[in-house]
Each structure stands twice: as C-alpha cells, then as structure tokens.
Amino acid sequence: MKHPDKKVLLEMFSTMTKIRLFETELQKFFAAGKIPGFVHLYLGEEAVATGACAALKQTDMITSTHRGHGHCLAKGGDLKLMMAEIYGRSTGYCKGKGGSMHIADFNIGILGANGIVGGGGPLAVGAAFSCQYKDTKGVCACFFGDGASNQGTTQESLNMASAWKLPVVFINENNGYGISCPQSKSMAITDIADRAAAYDMPGVVVDGNDVLAVYEAVTMAVERARKGQGPSLIECKTYRWRGHFEGDACVYRSEKELEEWKAKDPIPRFAKKLLDTGTATQAELDGITASVAADIEAAVQFAEGSPYPTPEDLLQDVYA
C-alpha cells in the first residue's frame, strides 16, 4: 500500500478539524434553539469517517447513519448546503425536507444519511451491485454502528454481499453504546469484526481514533473490493463524546470513561504525528484550522441568511 503523501495527510487533518468545528458549532446552535428536530453529533469519532473516506474516490459511494455529518463532510459534502439543511432552510441539500438525519449528495456518492438504525446496509448492497453490474470498479462503503450491527438488515447485507462478492466495505463504528445500552449488554462478543468470519470475509479491528489505521484498513478493503474479491468488515473502536442525541443526559456512562476517551482525542494525536514526523509545522496546522473555521463561519452565515421553505414547497417532490 502506498503511504499517503503530505497533501493527503493534511487533507485528513483538515477534514477532521472541519468535522470537529462543525459539530462544535452545531452543539452550540442546538442549545441556543436555532436548530429544529434531533441532532446526533459525531464529536470524538472524526478519525473514522476521515480515514475511511480518504481511501475512497469521489465516484465511490457511501451509505451513512443518523450520526452522519462526519461521513458527509469527509466524502466531500458542501459545508454551506449541509449547514443550511440542518437549519431547515430551502437552500439546504434537501431543500429543508430532510434535516440532520437525511443529508444526501448523489453527485459525490453520498447515498444518504439514514434515520433507521441498520437501514443503510441493504442500500449499500444494492449500490455495490450496480457497480458490479456495470463493471465500474466502484465501491460502496457502508457506515453502521455497534447498535446496527445487531439488526437483521445488517446480517442480511453482510450475507448477500459476501455471497455475491459485491464491492462493499462495511465500516462499523463501535462507540460502545447503542443509544444507552452498552455493548456488553447487547451482544456476547467483544469484537464485532468477529462476525465477518461467518460470512467468509476479512474482519479487522482497528483503533478508530487513529485516522491512519482506519485509512490503511479501508484502503486494503477497497483494493480488494475493486478487484472483485468481495466485501470486508472493518470495526473501528471509538467513542462519542456527546450523548446519543443532543439533550441526552448520559446517565448510563461515567464522566471518568468520557475523560479517558477524550485523552485519546484523534485530532491532537494526529497533529502530533504530523509534527513529530516533520510532515507539517504547527503554523501549517494552525493555518488549516483557521481556514476551516472561516469556512464554517461562512456556512453559518449562509444558513442563517437563507429563507425557510414555504408551504408551497410542501407537496413538491413527493414523486419523481
């Protein structure tokens, strides 16, 4: 496997920082009552989406989850269109019809975030089938959580993808909790990747807070998929800093546990690696952070300055 060059590495740093700042802003705006509905933040898990999507081409596809902002940003989603959508504005990705849980951009392979736990697996299988059918050499990455890994749809999808050697990369984000239920109460196994053996596909566990480890594992799985060798299951062990949703009091976990995971923050960890290896200077990283912050500020301005949809839009787009 080719080691990522400086450009790719700095792009990863930029993406992780973008997700971090985007979600931090959303947390603030949600608390201020500016954002309607539910918001599920990706804070703490940035390395997974970033490392995985860095291993994909723009023409490759992803299916995402209810905690999907990170996936969409990492796949190249537009900050302004995302922010406007989450604000419920007509200028958003879905004209305000979808919101946080339903962001999609088919032009860059984002087949949609998904409000149903385990909902994306079969769709990823179908998208990968289309790649195989048309021999595009494309792949579809399917993000799903530890909770979703227990759903029948996920098992059906793993099975169909392996039976047909479809180019799917199943990327499990194991953040330890299905809403409030710890993994130890919802499954008997420690490593979700073990389930790959049942479907005769590679199953690997990676440190989900190490963006390069994720990148390497997904890159290998993507190469395998493109060669027609079938799907893989990559389990990324990580942790969500916030509750399942904004407003979750998190009574089911300890402050100590959270602090332990915050000490494993993927962003400073990656920054240190970039500095230690001489890949980037602190000034370069600061420059990236400042640039990303400015982009997000512009996205907020765009969203807040955008109109809401009107009642006339209600019945638009029910049918194609």
Partner: protein
C-alpha cells in the same frame, strides 16, 4: 394480438423491457432457473443469464433494500417477493427507504424500482400466504400501486411501472395468473393512474380491483338478467387513483358499490368511498356499500376460505340493497 395468460403477459413485459433497457434486471427468491414461485419469470434466466436474473438468499429486507440501492445508483430493478405477505419482513426498506428518498433528499434521488408481489386467497395457502394488502401501500406517499385484473392490463401496467422513476408496488393475484385474454405483441405501456371501464352500465357503479373485477363482471351479468345495468370500473392503479373515472361513473349511475378481496375494514374501498362522499355526495341516491373480506385472517379449510372470499352473490346483494 394473441390470447395469453396474465402470467405470460407479465413475463412478456419483463422480457421486452429487459431487451429494451440493459439497466433492467430481476432480483428475488427463486426467480432464476426455477422461474419464480408461480412461474412468472420462467425462461428469463435462460435468456438473460444470472447477471440479470438474480436469485437471492431468502432475506426479504436485503432483496427490497438492494433493489432500492441499485435503483438509487442508476439501475431499474424488478424485485419479486414470493407472496405479498412477506413484505412484513422488509417493510422498512420499502416504506422508510425507497418511498422516502426522493422527497426526503429534496427531489434529487430517484428510485426507479418495481416490487412485484402476488396476493390473494383461493389456493388454500392460509393466513400467511393469502392476504390482500394494497391499502398498506396506499398509505405511504412516495409509492405507486398497480393492481391489474386482466392480462392486457398486467402487461401494459408492468411496462409503465418498469419505466417509471418511482418505487412501484405491483400487486398480482395468484388466481389470475392462469386467466386468459387478448394481449398485444408490442410493448405498449398503460399510463399509471388511468382506470378502465370494464363494463358500461347506467344503473349502478361497481368499483372493483384485481380478482374482484371478474367477480363484479359475473355479478353484473346476473344483475342484467334482472334488469339492473351495472357499470364495472377498474381503477387498475390505487396510487395514483383515477378519481375522474370513478366520479364520472357515479355521476351517471348515482349509486356506488365497491368490491375488493382485502379485509373491508380500512381497505382501499374506504378511501374510495370517502373520496366519492367528499366529492360527489350530492349525486348519490343511496348510501355507498362496500364488499370486502370479513375481519379475520384468511382461513385454511376450503369451506372457510370460500366463505371468506367475497363472491358475486355478495356484490349482487349489495347492489340490490341500494334499491
């Protein structure tokens, strides 16, 4: 034109559309060499091969979801479930995924898939293989619903369904598979949402769907012998529903009976009756009467199943009750 069965007409439609469009493929349980649970895909595997006629594991969520995902990514899947009753296993992929993508994603996504499912009682298949569930699909915006009663309609509607850019639920009746009728050789689509008057009449409108169209026609013949001239209207699609053909008929006959095999309670007939009451109540000379299955699961034993399925006698009685 040739005399063909409903089953052959469906098979023709799929074959012709697959010849026309490389993106059309078939996915489902035993649709390959086996030819489909009822034989509807027979011969297509031999003609198009495994790439385009794909047997699946017995996992309905993955079948429906993979069809939706493939459709979203640009293909035109025809998915088959062996029995409509099995949609319960896969509902999320239809209702929350396929049906919602276009609207929820702001009009950008298209999900041009067909989900073919046989329904109906009459073969002794009992409670989990005999239901008529069309009303469920009507209740979820984003899905179109076809429910053809004749071979010609089956072919024309399936062609349109395959070419449509939305998820289309295509409900076949297992008893109708062997019914014969004239079918054109060409691939001529029938517009979705256009009903058909199957028998013209002046005294009462009978709106019927699927197998009940045939039952209603039998009833109409019997009524004609008694001097009552019934018009039989087949909407052919429930979504979009051809309201005009129903309203125009009611405005002419001033009386309405609705017949379907599904359970009467909260069935498609309730929606049609409500629509007519809202839009043409003043034209009615008598209350609307619905004929449907009783509120119980489909029973197994032949005399019970016979008692379950609405018959021509019930439609005749319904019409006579208007007088």
């Amino acid at each position: 034109m040739a005399i063909k069965t409903y089953l052959q007409a469906l098979n023709d439609a799929m074959r012709q559309e697959m010849e026309r469009d490389e993106n059309v493929f078939i996915i489902g349980e035993d649709v390959g060499k086996f030819g489909g649970c009822f034989g509807v895909t027979q011969g297509l595997f031999d003609k198009f091969g495994e790439r385009r006629v794909r047997d699946t594991p017995i996992t309905e969520s993955a079948i429906v979801g993979a069809a939706a995902g493939a459709a979203a990514a640009g293909l035109r899947p025809i998915a088959e479930l062996m029995f409509v009753d099995f949609i319960g296993v896969a509902l999320d992929q239809l209702f929350n995924q396929a049906a919602k993508m276009h609207y929820m994603f702001g009009g950008k996504a298209k999900v041009p898939m067909v989900l073919r499912m046989p329904q109906g009682a009459g073969v002794g298949a009992a409670a989990q293989h005999s239901q008529s569930l069309e009303a469920w699909f009507m209740h979820i915006p984003g899905i179109k619903v076809c429910i053809p009663s004749t071979p010609a309609d089956a072919k024309g509607l399936l062609i349109s369904a395959i070419r449509d850019d939305n998820p289309v639920v295509f409900l076949e009746h297992k008893i109708l598979y062997g019914v014969e009728g004239e079918v054109g050789d060409e691939a001529t689509p029938i517009e979705l949402g256009k009903g058909d008057v199957k028998r013209e009449g002046t005294d009462v409108t009978i709106v019927a769907t699927s197998l009940m169209v045939h039952t209603a026609l039998q009833a109409a013949e019997a009524l004609a012998a008694q001097g009552i001239n019934a018009e039989v209207v087949d909407p052919r699609c429930l979504v979009p529903l051809d309201k005009d053909i129903i309203l125009n008929s009611v405005k002419k006959t001033h009386a309405l009976v609705i017949a379907h095999e599904a359970v009467k309670t909260a069935g498609a007939g309730a929606e049609i009756a409500a629509m007519v009451a809202e839009e043409a109540l003043d034209y009615l000379d008598a209350p609307i009467v619905r004929v449907g299955a009783p509120y119980c699961p489909v029973p197994f034993s032949p005399p019970l199943e016979k008692a379950y399925i609405p018959g021509a006698d019930q439609i005749i009685a319904a019409v006579k009750s208007l007088r």
